[in-house]
Subunit: 243 residues, 2 copies
């Protein structure tokens, strides 16, 4: 793990790093060594680890919960090189949608393929970050919607260190099997008028989660219209389950 920069703004320390080829950002409270919960944030499609929404949320988790937060670039995003195969598939999918195919199954298939790469990457990131004195091996949380849900469901299913997850803006297609292996508390966000995820697909993914403690939060509006009070709710959710 190689740190490339460190800055500190309003009591939140931000460290940029590379773990092998994977560029990441780690946010922690200023101050000394202390074991604390770690939240992994999965960014949305076309976004990256330092997307303003990711940074805003990460800072809230640090300030309001005392958590450590880590986000890394998904392959083909942020500082990572384009992946020729992914680009080819994306272009191919676009053509298929224009020819009348449904979007949701194509997205599902694509995300499942990317997840086969990101799940072990994120596990390696948790391994390394939890070795740091100012993070330590505390409970892990996961926050990810949209692409962050598509990659997050298989991650949470595979990773027993994750104790609680905020997921959402994703459908059951291609994720049902992983969802049935998710048993930790989940807060699941859904946009009632999502133009990208069919309503019944969102409800089916929430339904498929095996967690006895899960809550669906549905709000009116399109895919990008998640109201900011859901961020307040996510902070409280992680405080309840990780702190």
């Amino acid at each position: 793990m190689r740190f490339t920069s460190e800055t500190s703004v309003d009591r939140v320390r931000e460290q940029l790093f590379f773990l092998g080829e994977i560029p990441g950002a780690l946010w922690t409270p200023e101050g000394g060594a202390s074991r604390r919960p770690l939240i992994v944030v999965g960014h949305g499609g076309g976004r990256h680890k330092k997307d303003p929404d990711v940074v805003h949320l990460a800072r809230r988790f640090v300030i309001e919960g005392g958590f450590a937060v880590v986000a890394v670039d998904v392959p083909g995003h942020g500082e990572r090189p384009a992946v020729a195969e992914y680009n080819r598939i994306a272009a191919d999918n676009q053509a298929r949608v224009q020819a009348g195919e449904e979007l949701a199954p194509l997205i599902a298939e694509f995300q499942a393929m990317v997840a086969r790469q990101t799940v072990p990457e994120w596990q390696a990131v948790v391994d390394e970050v939890q070795r740091l004195d100012h993070v330590g091996a505390g409970p892990v949380g996961y926050w990810g919607i949209s692409l962050g849900c598509g990659l997050g469901v298989p991650f949470v299913a595979a990773e027993s260190r994750v104790h609680a997850a905020v997921l959402g803006l994703g459908g059951a297609l291609g994720k049902t099997e992983d969802a049935t292996r998710v048993t930790v508390p989940v807060e699941f966000l859904m946009q009632w008028n999502d133009e990208r995820v069919p309503r019944d697909q969102s409800l089916a993914l929430f339904d498929a989660l095996a967690s006895p403690d899960k809550t669906l939060h549905a709000n009116p509006g399109k895919h990008g219209d998640v109201p900011t009070f859901e961020h307040d709710s996510a902070v409280r959710f992680f405080v309840r389950h990780l702190a």
Copy 2:
């Protein structure tokens, strides 16, 4: 409005009253005259104005929000005399369910009938309570699930003084028209495995609400299993919209 008792526990004043034939309870913060938001709480079927859940919630609204809270007995409940016609219909419905009829449409029809009596009753209660110096004519909220939703949707639809409502554990059947006249912020509770309200009926009622600001909170479990953290959420919801 005739007050019959007044007690005070831990800075919350509780006054029992009759408005004509209607027995009610009013909870307010101890202290002098001050205009404050008023939350009307509608109790569940077979319950009453001083049901432990109602009192617990009312005290939280007073202590955490500084609100006034009023609850009255629904006809045939609590201190009110049995209503021969309602009892006849209830017995008749029980027989019809045993003979194989669906429960939900019978409940919907019954609640619509009771609402024709309770909507004007509750409006009169708000009129009178808001004349009191320690309540005043502030914004009104409504909290009611199950029977409290069946009676609450027509109340919120009819009453322009209501600025925000927590509703839920109810289906669209017989309430769709009223729901399309509800435009204030709503937090809508749903039990994912509700044995009394079919899942599609709950979703349809949430869908029918005309409110641009509405959030569905769905949790696993049966009709009576609403998790207590939804009470925390209700307090915050009313603080956000009424305070």
